[in-house]
Amino acid sequence: MKSSVIVFPGSNCDRDIAVALEKMQFKNQMVWHKDTSLPKTDLIVIPGGFSYGDYLRSGAIAGKSLIIDEVIKAADEGCLVLGICNGFQILTETGLLKGTLLRNKNLKFINKDVHIKVINNQTNFSKKYKKDQILKINIAHNEGNFFTDKTHLEELTKEGLIAFKYCDEKGNVSEESNPNGSLENIAGIYNSKRNILGMMPHPERMVDELTSNKDGVNLFSSLLN
């Protein structure tokens, strides 16, 4: 399986995701944001970081970069797209995912391991997880407070497009287990075709017992087959 990681000025999780992908046996290549064509690829990853220093709005400038037109084309043709953290923010700015990420409710940059629940385990990104499985995954963001309009929220709920929700270690989805004020504790969403996943938590940081745990591994192994 071939993957491409898009690199913007200010991306800082691009190498982490590349290491994780290679560890999981993906044939990965890095793609510079000024490129105007994508190599042949099965998965596009938009990594975390602070593209363009979060100028204007997080992800706004990267969302208009040259390579993005190709990403949109590939996504329309069914290519799998994964946006993590700043990557999720960029995907909302391009319109590939609806909704947006607001400043965290408590106005603080949050960097900690949190629990999330797998809401839909029937997708290319999640089929190796069990339904309602609880994962412990790191978050590190200042704008992760998911917000969208009523119609879209209804669509997300009815169509099974909510990927993950923040919860406590027992799996309770509540205000107390919501780190950033996200609507309905949403931590990640799919587009209607389910070939695009945007999520604030960092699965690429959870692929090795040496540095954390292996709760992110199944996301990548789901993608492999």
């Binding site: 706004a60 400043r103 409710k105 917000f147 969208t148 309009d149």
Partner: protein, 79 residues
């Protein structure tokens, strides 16, 4: 021709920064303060001479990049 663009969060979107500024001002003794919404301000200069055309262009800039229409409102004024 110069335009000023004011971008603010929509009414029903939580504005935590505005809230903190508001609370601070109240703590400083500004008791009559009713509400504060924090926003952004842009000053744009375009070379067009036709005001309608220029305004159209500035509006396009807002819609395509400067404003996130899901959460923000904007107002264009000629200066």
């Amino acid at each position: 021709m110069k335009f000023s663009i004011t971008v603010t969060l929509k009414k029903d979107v939580l504005d935590p920064q505005g809230k903190v500024v508001q609370n601070t001002l109240i703590n400083m003794g500004m008791n009559n303060l009713k509400s504060i919404r924090q926003g952004k301000h842009f000053e744009v200069e375009v070379e067009d001479k036709d005001q309608t055309l220029a305004e159209k262009k500035v509006d396009m800039m807002c819609k395509k990049l400067l404003v996130n229409l899901i959460i923000e409102d904007y107002k264009i004024t000629k200066i």
